[in-house]
Amino acid sequence: MGKAIEAIDLDIYYGSFLAVQGVNMTIRPKTVTALIGPSGCGKSTYLRSINRMHEVIPGARVEGSIELDGTDLYGAGVDPVGVRRQIGMVFQRPNPFPTMSIYDNVIAGQRLNNKRMRKDATDDLVERSLRGANLWNEVKDRLEKPGSGLSGGQQQRLCIARAIAVQPDVLLMDEPCSALDPISTLAIEDLINELKMDYTIVIVTHNMQQAARVSDYTGFFNIEGTGKPGKLVEMDETKKIFSQPTQKATEDYVSGRFG
């Protein structure tokens, strides 16, 4: 588990609108990479193109390539469904399935794909995933209750448990803490630090401190003006980005002198 990602000359379109242009980025296995940048610069768009979630939007398409340990995810004959099984995703707003219990939510990946599992194996997987998401102690007595009955922070950790239950190689997170209070945020940051042992993690965040706290590498995206495509300005070790970036725009942004 934990694979490398390499984006090569990646252009991402919504219909005829070029949203992100010319991204070249190497993401090392078992590291946390933070993506930062002003609103609308294409962080979510780029993140969603990594697990081929971008193309579920009508008219959306991608040019260039993204390689996962050397295989092109956009190559001919690659099934996007298979890609998404290897690259899990956690969304900005927690989105547990409202018709399912907490238990079923965790193993939704298996249940929805009709994967047959023995009862004790499922129980085990549920416990492991919930422990992995730091949620087990809070919900172990009400696993059969609906997932939508949890608090926002708990729901988000449930979504993380659901994502890691399918045992992906990579975990993408799009502002996973933006709807959460500081305590839940800390819980999720701790979790990211633990998950890094097994997974390659890419996280979009607007919170500089968070990027500095959790990530090993940071990529800064920027946009020149409305209607222009977003670009990857600079990517480096997080320490370096926050202390001595090579680009002026990066320095302005991380020091809060932006716009």
Binding site: M53, G82, F91, P96, F97, S148, R162
Partner: protein
């Protein structure tokens, strides 16, 4: 920050110069029984006036009482409580009267059907057909069975077609020309007069079986022409309100689209879909015109929708009333009872729709 909030707060025409305490100080308030007293007062005054002129009629009395009540309460309330409260009271009166007005025809229909239909609402009505019956006795068993069979057939044809069409429109066809034209034709179909649906089914079956054909199945086809657009529309609306985030959540777990639809989208909206379908059934079960043309009527029991005429409740009621035998009364009584049974069926379907909605609704705790 403070500038922002100032902009968004609605500006009242309050005199800012007066001190706050006097601005928020309560004006007078009418006592709780004030409204009732005003209504009673208006009724007494109007009643007295009408009695004095000798032109008393209940309609005029109610109308004038409400008008005087509204005007009087407005005047009193304005004097005591101020303009805003007074306007509030008048609007309350207007809305309530409109509601009661709308309720009158409904209650009147239910009451008329109930009082006329209850005479023959007996075991015999539910157990015997009209075969060999002249005058008293007999019943609508054959018509009840015919209605149930034909409606069930129509539902069996419309629900899969309607459901799949809606799934296509919402999940696959968004923005395509095909989807737009389907939506257009569904809208057109919603407006088709039911008699046209009947003529269509009749003409269709006359092609195969020759003119004069009457068939339960032809009636079912006519009903499904009316039912499909309703099912499509109801299902479409329900599928649309399933949040996109749930679909994306499933996709991100590596679930193929068709499984996502089958196991996430439809289960999430099944409550609304089921009650929409039930209401669509309720909508067509009382259709008369298409069945009159395509199915006709018969006096005996016929369980086979592919073999000749079948009786149905609406057509049975229609013929019993329009072409009764002699003596007339037993026929008319049976017509009312058939109408009553139909209303009961529709009511049961509506209750079932609510029950289904509650049963399937995603639970929160």
């Amino acid at each position: 920050m403070s500038i922002e909030t100032d902009k968004t707060t609605p500006q009242h025409d309050v005199d800012v110069a007066t001190p706050l305490e006097s601005r928020i100080a309560r004006k007078g308030q009418l006592p709780r029984w004030g409204t009732a007293a005003a209504l009673a007062g208006a009724a007494v005054i109007i009643g007295g006036a009408l009695a004095a002129t000798g032109a008393f009629s209940i309609g005029l009395f109610v109308f004038l009482t409400v008008v005087l009540f509204a005007v009087g309460l407005y005047a009193i309330s304005r004097a005591v409580e101020g303009g805003r409260k007074a306007a509030d009271r008048v609007v309350t009166i207007v809305v309530t009267s409109a509601f009661l007005l709308a309720l009158i025809p409904l209650i009147s229909v239910v009451w008329t059907v109930l009082s006329n239909g209850v005479a023959r609402f007996d075991a015999e009505f539910f157990s015997s057909s009209m075969r060999g019956v002249v005058g008293e006795g007999g019943g609508g068993y054959h018509a009840i069975m015919g209605t149930l069979i034909i409606t069930a057939l129509a539902a069996a044809m419309s629900i899969p077609v309607g459901l799949l069409t809606a799934v296509y429109l919402v999940e696959y066809g968004v923005g395509t020309r095909l989807a737009r034209s389907i939506t257009f034709f569904v809208d057109v179909m919603t407006g088709i007069p039911s008699i046209v649906a009947g003529l269509f089914a009749y003409a269709l079956f006359a092609l195969f079986a020759g003119p004069g054909v009457r068939l339960g199945f032809a009636g079912a086809v006519a009903l499904s022409v009316l039912m499909i657009p309703v099912v499509v529309r109801a299902t479409e609306e329900m599928l649309k309100i399933v949040p996109n985030e749930l679909r994306e959540a499933a996709f991100a777990l590596g679930v193929p689209k068709w499984r996502t639809i089958l196991k996430v989208v439809i289960p999430t909206s099944i409550a609304g879909i089921a009650s929409g379908i039930t209401l669509a059934i309720a909508r067509v079960i009382g259709e008369t015109a298409p069945l009159l043309i395509a199915v006709g009527i018969t006096t005996g029991l016929n369980f086979n929708p592919f073999d000749g005429r079948q009786a149905t409740l609406p057509v049975f009621a229609y013929y019993s009333y329009a072409a009764p035998g002699v003596p007339r009364d037993p026929y008319v009584d049976r017509a009312w009872t058939a109408a009553l049974v139909l209303i009961v069926i529709v009511m049961v379907l509506n209750l079932a729709a609510r029950l289904i909605a509650r049963l399937f609704a995603p639970k929160n705790r």
